[in-house]
Symmetry: C2
């Protein structure tokens, strides 16, 4: 993801003076009104942000099975009624056609471009899936005093395509995408403990310490996001990533599919703390 | 610990034909009768085994504080009344003077030798401490399907002296001793999850992946126990070890102190499963 719009630091800098960035309802209204198009990472602290995937009904059952079989990259938080752009369990006034700052449109599995609204594209047979996102567990890590390197640097989290094959479901298949955060060994242990409590937002890491063992040749070269800095004494810790369904969509090649643009998430009214299982 | 008596495999081999090795009461009776002197690792499966430390009352309060301040190496399961060789919360008929297969005697902080009974040494001012032991969490790891390399090899768990300073308490101070088990990265993550549920038997690892960062120069050379095999694709995972109090005893230099001989533990009537906090 080179040359993306706004970094987290820029987004945070431009916020908070003239509107309430901590209220998820106001954040969505601001986005819906076309007045915010940046990354959502710094917004609505304490509330769940979600990955979005929208598919024609003909593909929905297969994709639901794909999520069920691959809960670490695709933790399903909510699934819409066919044709409905609403997910009331995630927010009462939530409208999936307008409430994300940027959408990514795929046609026949190929990226067609990013758009700021999908009102024109909406179809009566669309089914929407909201999947857990790492922002939730990053908040838990930060609350526990663990430093998140890419937040400190104001850069995007590095993301890699692994050689770990997801369990296929119908036409959906593909390799797992992972995100990486470097930690000292002692903090890596704490990070496993903390994120294990959040299975609905990717849960525990899938790997640590040996990138080459999951098909990552050079951990300092990200596949998407920004190249990371891994200081001496830090080990790379890898979590399953919500970009994985985009890889599966490329494989399934539906005539149309819509996702969020990376880092431009669906902001919900669900509190992160309610997702903890321990 | 060179030239020790019996390996785990040898101990297991010589057992089980003429007596019930799974009943902790019978195991203790057999030891008390002088009919078993080997490692206890293969005995009384499902029951907690404990590290033992016995000190004169003049040292007991300071040692209790040392345990309280260093709960990972010294998780205190029980503490006796002064002069009492019993720990009723760990076993009704338990007698600390006779019920361990081997004891280690320290005089003025120096190792004086190993003995099979401490009836002759018992004093009215002795206070006994029972500390959690890794056998309990190893059982939980094995039950979850994780391979414990040194069990498979029939060798002793490798143990190292780190450069991690324990929090001192009075005359007790010293560096932390750790035990090591190698795992694949995915299994290392599971091992963190599983052992985190057992804080009373050392809990989560204290370190993984970078032995040199905790003062271990060569992970293939154990300080005590047997030298390990760390296969390619495995990372070393380190847990705080119950041998740590022996280091602190050497520093405090009490006129007399008695511990278990490594791997010759106190077998209790408490079930491992009752120690799980999650």
């Amino acid at each position: 993801m080179s040359a993306t719009t706004t970094t987290v630091a820029e987004a945070a800098h431009g916020l908070g003076l003239d509107w309430n960035t901590t209220d998820p309802v106001e954040v969505r209204r601001r986005i819906r009104a076309g007045r915010f198009h940046g990354h959502t990472g710094a917004l609505a602290k304490g509330y769940v942000q979600a990955n979005l995937a929208i598919l024609p009904a003909d593909y929905a059952d297969e994709f639901a099975r794909f999520c069920q079989r691959n809960p670490k990259p695709c933790p399903l938080l909510a699934m819409s009624e066919p044709g409905s752009p609403h997910l009331p369990e995630l927010g009462e006034d939530l409208d999936l056609r307008t409430d994300l700052p940027s959408y990514r449109v795929f046609r026949d599995g190929e990226l067609d471009g990013d758009v700021r609204s999908i009102e024109d594209l909406w179809r009566d047979d669309f089914v929407a899936f909201a999947l857990g996102c790492s922002f939730s567990f990053e908040e838990a890590l930060i609350d526990a005093g663990l430093p998140i390197r890419h937040w400190r640097d104001g850069s995007l989290c590095p993301v890699y395509l692994t050689d770990i094959e997801c369990t296929p479901a119908g036409r959906f298949r593909g390799r797992m995408v992972v995100s990486m955060r470097p930690f000292t060994p002692a903090d890596a242990i704490k990070a496993v403990q903390i994120t294990s409590r959040y299975p609905r937002v990717h849960g525990a890491p899938v790997h640590l310490g040996m990138p080459e063992r999951i098909g990552i040749e050079d951990v300092e070269r990200a596949w998407q996001g920004d190249d990371p800095v891994v200081e001496a004494g830090r080990i790379p810790v890898f979590w399953a990533c919500g970009i994985t369904p985009q890889v599966a969509v490329r494989s399934a090649r539906p005539p149309i599919a819509i996702t969020h643009t990376p880092s431009h998430m669906l902001v919900t009214d669900v509190r992160n703390a309610t997702l903890s299982v321990g």
